[in-house]
Amino acid sequence: MLQRVFYGFIAVFALAALGLGLAVAGSPGLAFGLFAALTIGGALVCVWERSVVRSAFALMATFTGVACFFVLLESEFLAMAQILIYVGAILVLILFGVMLTPPDLNERKLSRVLPGIAIIGACTAWIGMKTAETATWAIAAAPPTGGKVEGFSTAERIGVGFLAADEYVIPFELAAVVLTVALVGAVYIARRRRVDLEAPTERGEV
């Protein structure tokens, strides 16, 4: 199991590096296909797989693929944040959840959920077709700038935007408050109840 996980890590990051190399070498179409395969493939394996641990590790491919898309879209800072927060933190949280809860061996059989999957897929395809019919892709052709200013990377502009008083400093501070409140609240909710701690002594087990 561990060995397979290790090989999976290497495969995912090798694919990502290969795609980024392709993008730099000048064939973004090929890189896009590779990243799409990484993203969608990871999500498919996650949905398909019966074991929670394997699903969680498959999700890593999805998160890495989305980070690669961010690089392709010239948002290097977002790609870095995606790797750090999603692959580094949220995935580890999910794995902690897997380890701290019992395995549920009575998952639904695949044959029972296939109709639902078919319905959801059909709905998505239908909405996509309708959107493609009616949407006017006025901005479908990439503008020369696309949020980029000559001499500035988007990461620099994002950093300036966070601190400039007339841009995003209020949401930035609010995000800090929200994170603090959420983490303190999470610790409060997840803490062991006093009853749990005292229960053994009440039974005289010291």
Partner: protein, 100 residues
Amino acid sequence: MGLGAYVAVSAVLFALGIVAIVTRRNVLYVLMGIEMILNAANLNFVAFNRFGGDGLDGRMFAIFTIILAAAEAAVALAIVLNVWHLFETIRPSDADMLRE
């Protein structure tokens, strides 16, 4: 690649997230599905920002989504642990009592 390709990938990712939420009994799959959906939304925000002008609003929105997703994952894990302690089950459909 044009905007349409990114939107298509994000639509598929969104649908797979919905599938993960709807078809599974384990609440951890619901969490994973939510993360997939948030990722799909982020991909849309960044793609539309990249193809749609000079501002950085989409990227900023994506950053705040990531921040809130981190907070959400922490609180959700705490709730999952609590539900397991209270109900001895992590199936969302079985934990249906508001009080003990």
